[in-house]
């Protein structure tokens, strides 16, 4: 399998890129401005596209080049553009009422990274894969997923919920590129398009929310209780 015979240069390249993606998700936790969140997400998607292309190069999987290009186009350009358009239409600039300050969310995110590292280390130990990039890939995958959930839980803006979901999907994609690059390309293609459809659906719904419910913050959407 690819992760078993990687030369050290490739390993450090992948680890650098994976950790860059993780750091970009922390930018999303730390910043006050929604626009910065989206730029960070776009940068993260491009990073993951570069990882895809590198894995295609080192592992001789030519279809990964196409997937990398599609990721860069759809996840890295179109999705952020769609969400930016939504923000402009909804006229919100900042996440006004987060439950936790950015600094505290960063610390919480660091705790989550440590937790995912522990889990990945245990998994790696049972699979006899310690000291391998697999543990790093698992850590980044789990941490991105947990940070995405953190964003969804601690924020009340609808856009933040969408971004949290996209971060989770990004994390899964990152992990799958490093761990299972041989997964049938059809699956990865369809997942990319699926994401596009989801975001378009979200966009329509959020606009409907704004028009009919008058607000997009989940703190005000409290009509259905019990």
């Amino acid at each position: 399998m690819l992760i078993f015979h990687l030369d050290p240069l490739a390993t450090s390249l992948f680890s650098l890129l994976a950790i860059l993606a993780l750091v970009l998700s922390f930018v999303m936790l730390a910043s006050h401005w929604l626009k910065n969140h989206i730029y960070a997400f776009a940068a993260e998607s491009w990073t993951i596209a570069i990882i895809s292309a590198s894995i295609g190069y080192y592992g001789h999987y030519p279809e990964l080049y196409i997937i990398a290009a599609l990721t860069a186009i759809f996840r890295g350009t179109m999705l952020p553009y769609l969400v930016l358009r939504l923000i402009k239409r909804l006229n919100i600039q900042r996440e006004f009422t987060p439950l936790l300050k950015p600094s505290s969310s960063m610390i919480l995110g660091a705790v989550l990274v440590i937790f995912s590292y522990e889990v990945s280390r245990q998994l790696g130990a049972t699979l006899h894969l310690t000291d391998n990039i697999a543990v790093l890939a698992l850590t980044c995958m789990f941490s991105l997923k947990l940070i995405g959930f953190l964003m969804m839980i601690l924020r009340s803006e609808a856009i933040s919920h969408i971004l949290g979901l996209l971060v989770i999907e990004n994390g899964i994609f990152l992990g799958s590129q490093i761990l299972v690059p041989g997964m049938p390309a059809l699956l990865e293609l369809v997942i990319i398009f699926d994401l596009l459809t989801i975001v378009m659906a979200f966009g329509m719904l959020v606009r409907l929310l704004q028009v009919h419910a008058g607000t997009t913050s989940s703190r005000d959407l409290q009509k259905l209780v019990g």
């Binding site: 989770i168 761990l179 690059p181 659906a201 419910a213 019990g226």
Partner: protein, 487 residues
């Protein structure tokens, strides 16, 4: 030899064609009857597939399509509920004249929803199964938010967010399963249920269990098991009544099928006890949460949404007990629940439109104004809480029987007590609605229910009565066969 390829192709092409036609011809009455015709065709095809399903799992369509007895059964439930909901939708949507210009979109979405639900149980590839379920979520979210009111949109939004987050977890689980398989099969292999079952014994326990728990929680969100059920009351109560029936009666079954298939993977890995117990615990929690919320419930459709939560809990317990008896009970429960839940949602839709309110407190003396519908509704309430002589009683008792023989007999007691509790709470609500204090004179309902509103209730009611009094021998044999082969 039945040509399954042709059957399945027809099954998918019919709704697709209907959607195209409906969007092209934008007249509401064309859309209504196109949808009705499609649902009849779909029902017939699913019935044929069920009757003719081969004894073992059957793979076709370039390894992408899988036909198993359990899958065919779930497909049949989908077809049945789609037919009933289509008949009812004609009557229900005619009560909403303001929606007339958008009605073709509604029926197109309904047919699209049915199409995605018909694709999912037949998928051999867990990844594509996941994608199909994701598509069902998107389409049904638009259906739930169809009436453009604030609460409907809010419900659709919560539905989409919570379920998408859950499904993302499930995707992570599927990736971990595939990764486990790469240790056995090499870096590239086809992702199918059979391959995953084959690799399960050779993969370390922690990876297998982690992946299974992720998919359990992920697809459990889609099924609506507690504590991931928070979207369920909102989505099922705010959508139009036919949509609620399809959501409760058809979609939840498909997600449960997915959970059961992953459970079988863990089974073949040798960790079946943990897997079954996890599912069982989720089912018990769902039952408990449902019981608590049913006791103090005011909205009519919300009450039935919590009842869906209860029955999904019972199904999860049934599958979680393991063993052929509980499995047979769970399968029988699926069809009974689909029929009864449709009946209840149709009745609720009728009564809500008649009284003009969602609150049960304002619905009084139902039998006086609507003797036929009211009686059917009352009998349906008796049925849905699991009382004899209706079908759900038989299936629940079978599950309890299977539970006594299982490794987790404590759940039998919990389930029985909670079911009794829910029965009492339900009957309390209906007692008030039927024999409660007289409403204000000006609030007497004056709506006349057409045959389109009451016919589906009869169509749903009669089979429950029949299935409750007589469990066909052929069905029992079919359930046993479904248990033996791969799900």
């Amino acid at each position: 030899m039945v040509n399954f390829n042709a059957l399945i192709a027809a099954l998918w092409i019919a709704p697709a064609l209907a959607i195209v036609l409906m969007m092209a011809i934008r007249r509401p009455c064309w859309a209504e009857y196109l949808n009705l015709g499609t649902s009849v065709i779909v029902f017939g095809l699913t019935l044929t597939i069920l009757v003719a399903v081969p004894d073992a799992g059957w793979v076709t369509g370039e390894q992408y399509i899988l036909l198993t007895p359990l899958g065919a059964w779930v497909l049949f439930c989908v077809g049945l509920v789609y037919l009933l909901a289509s008949i009812y939708a004609i009557g229900y949507m005619r009560l909403l004249p303001e929606e007339n210009p958008r009605l073709h979109k509604f029926y197109a979405l309904l047919a699209g929803f049915a199409l995605t639900m018909l694709i999912a149980p037949l998928m051999n590839n867990p990844g594509i199964f996941w994608i199909a379920i994701d598509f069902t979520t998107i389409v049904s979210a638009f259906l739930v938010g169809f009436e453009r009111e604030a609460e409907c949109i809010e419900a659709a939004w919560k539905y989409l967010i919570v379920v998408s987050a859950g499904l993302a977890l499930a995707l992570l689980g599927i990736i971990l399963f595939y990764w486990g398989g790469t240790f056995v099969f090499g870096p590239t292999y086809a992702l199918t249920w059979a391959n995953l079952r084959e690799m399960a014994p050779k993969v370390p326990e922690s990876l297998l269990l982690l992946a299974y728990l992720l998919t359990l929680v992920g697809f459990g969100t889609k099924v609506g098991l507690a504590p991931m059920h928070t979207w369920l009351p909102d989505a099922h109560s705010e959508g139009p009544a036919p949509v609620s029936a399809m959501l409760s009666g058809a979609l939840l079954n498909i997600a449960l099928l997915g959970i059961y298939r992953f459970l079988s993977i863990v089974d073949s890995g040798g960790y079946g006890l943990i897997g079954h117990t996890a599912l069982l615990v989720l089912g018990v929690i769902s039952l408990a949460v449902a019981g608590m919320f049913i006791v103090r419930q005011d909205g009519a459709k919300r009450l039935f949404a919590y009842s869906s939560l209860e029955h999904m809990g019972v199904l999860a317990i049934g599958f979680g007990f393991g063993g052929p008896i509980a499995f047979a009970g769970a399968m029988y429960h699926m069809i009974n629940h689909s029929l009864t839940k449709s009946l209840m949602f149709f009745g609720a839709g009728n009564i809500m439109r008649a009284y003009g309110t969602k609150s049960m407190r304002k619905m009084r003396q139902v039998l006086r104004y609507y003797p036929v519908s009211g009686a059917l509704w009352l009998l349906g309430a008796v049925a849905i809480t699991g009382a004899p002589p209706f079908g759900l009683f038989l299936s629940e008792v079978t599950i309890l029987r299977g539970g006594i023989l299982s490794p987790n007999p404590w759940a039998v007691w919990v389930m029985a007590i909670l079911l009794i509790l829910i029965f009492i709470a339900f009957m309390n609500h209906f007692r008030e609605m039927i024999w409660g204090a007289e409403a204000e004179p000006g609030e007497a309902p004056t709506l006349k229910l057409s045959v389109w509103n009451t016919l589906p209730m009869w169509l749903a009611f009669v089979p429950i009565l029949v299935l409750g009094l007589w469990w066909p021998e052929g069905l029992w044999g079919f359930f046993q066969q479904a248990f033996m082969v791969q799900p």
